[in-house]
């Protein structure tokens, strides 16, 4: 068999990596969403202590490289608190915590863009703080945030490639194995690149579709 034939045989192996990559992205976005929503509420409506904590959190996760975070949590923090995580689990959690920092900034902006008057009206009806958030603020703020979430998706997709350093079987890790097995570097990496572009494109389309579905009728804002 020529090297190229071997390479052809390995193609599905690389392609399967995209499921792992998407898994990382999905978990990262999902965990990040939960963290981001809570922290943005804390940052907008919380007391000074809560705001300080949120600030410190976002500074840490936005200010340090993903690579540092992966190593730090996998080899130090998680073991220290008795969490025995697999490489995949660490990667999902770290991507999630990191994305949470970014998403909290996204949601903070969109929450602050909701007029105070609507919150006042919700209060006047007798809605509690959580009801105001759940039924008035977030439904609008999250809609407004969809374009930025789409952006966050494309960033976290590319971030997920870094998880190869822990040996998670995503696109990048598999591509590297193939280059080693076949001795060919160029083509596998081109294929990996093309896969990322395709996933970015499809994801952006999906977010566009969601956005046009949930737009508020008659409201002309970004």
């Amino acid at each position: 068999m020529s090297n190229l034939q071997v390479l052809a045989k390995y193609l599905p192996y690389i392609f399967d990596g995209s499921l792992w990559s998407l898994g990382l992205v999905g978990a990262g976005l999902g965990i990040g969403f939960a963290i981001g929503v809570l922290m943005s509420l804390g940052q907008v409506y919380g007391n000074p202590l809560i705001r300080k904590i949120v600030d410190a959190y976002t500074w840490f996760f936005r200010g340090t490289p993903l690579l540092v975070q992966l190593f730090l949590f996998h080899w130090s923090v998680f073991p220290a608190i008795g969490l025995r995580t697999t490489a995949l689990e660490t990667s999902m959690l770290v991507l999630g915590m990191r994305s949470g920092a970014y998403q909290s900034q996204i949601f903070r902006g969109s929450i602050e863009s909701i007029e105070e008057g609507q919150v006042l009206a919700a209060k006047a009806l007798g809605l509690s703080f959580w009801q105001q958030s759940l039924y008035v603020v977030l439904p609008q703020a999250l809609r407004k945030a969809v374009p930025q979430l789409s952006n966050e998706y494309s960033i976290i997709l590319k971030d997920s490639a870094v998880c190869f350093v822990l040996g998670v079987m995503e696109i990048m890790t598999r591509t590297r194995y193939v280059t080693i097995a076949t001795g060919i570097a160029l083509i596998p990496y081109l294929i990996a690149g093309a896969l990322y572009i395709a996933l970015t494109y499809l994801g952006a389309k999906a977010f566009d579709m969601v956005y046009s579905r949930i737009r508020i009728q008659g409201l002309v804002t970004g």
């Binding site: 006042l120 009806l125 809605l127």
Partner: protein
């Protein structure tokens, strides 16, 4: 103890923002079915007063009683009482992401915890009372005119079956040709016995609906009484100056 007909009592209400004392000891009471109109120049503290009554702004001093319950006493569940006070804002403040009927139903399903179908019936009733027809129920706020928005906002408050309605300049953000439909609705509600406190600059409207007119100036009620007496023969100089201005602008004279 409360008088039988008393709905709201405000006693010695004080509020300051930084150095500025915005409410300097306001006291009045509103009986069931009574319509109080408050007028006064910009910055007098009218909005602050209404917001303090609904505890949207915490007062510094004084007490507020709603149907014999002191809202300003510590440990009270404010949300339970806020639903009994209907608040209508100058800027409507409708929820943008909900339809007209969705706006009215939210408080019914989430605060009064009514089942959906019951909430919907009550919401429809409230919307019809403010003359918002079936064709507008599923429209979003951005698809409604200012007058329609304000009437939906009134329906939203009304559907909670409040003990009292507070209106803060309900027509000030409207084009002149749209104020009539909103004032008409407020008047109809008042005539049907809805206890109301209305802040407005509409002199003609005040004359029509007010049982008592109070003039606020610089954080105090400087004059109160029968609306036409207060308007046409005010005692204080501040009130005289104020009405001279409003009457000229509004074109209501004698």
């Amino acid at each position: 103890m409360t008088a039988a007909g008393e709905v709201l009592r405000v006693e010695n209400l004080r509020k300051r923002f930084g150095k500025e004392e915005v409410l300097k000891g306001i006291s009045f009471k509103v009986d069931r079915g009574e319509v109080k109109v408050i007028m006064g120049p910009s910055g007098a503290g009218k909005s602050t007063l209404l917001k303090c009554i609904d505890l949207l702004i915490p007062p510094d001093e004084g007490s507020i009683w709603l149907e014999g319950v002191e809202l300003t006493s510590p440990g009270i569940n404010v949300n339970q009482y806020r639903r009994k006070i209907g608040f209508v804002f100058q800027e409507f403040n409708l929820f943008h992401h909900l339809t007209a009927i969705g706006n009215v139903m939210l408080g019914l399903t989430k605060v009064r915890k009514l089942p959906k179908n019951e909430a919907r019936e009550l919401a429809e009733e409230a919307l019809l009372r403010v003359h918002i027809g079936r064709d507008l129920w599923d429209k979003y706020p951005a698809q409604l005119s200012g007058g329609q928005k304000q009437r939906v906002a009134i329906a939203r408050a009304l559907a909670m079956e409040p003990s009292i309605m507070l209106y803060d300049e309900p027509t000030s953000a409207l084009d002149p040709q749209l104020t009539g439909e909103v004032l008409q609705v407020i008047k109809e509600l008042a005539e049907s016995g809805m206890t109301s406190v209305i802040v407005t600059h509409e002199v003609g409207f005040a004359l029509e609906v007010a049982d008592e007119l109070m003039i606020m100036f610089d954080g105090e009620i400087i004059e109160r009484g029968n609306p036409s007496e207060v308007i046409y023969s005010p005692e204080s100089d501040s009130a005289k100056v104020f009405f001279k201005k409003v009457l000229r602008l509004g074109g209501v004279g004698r």
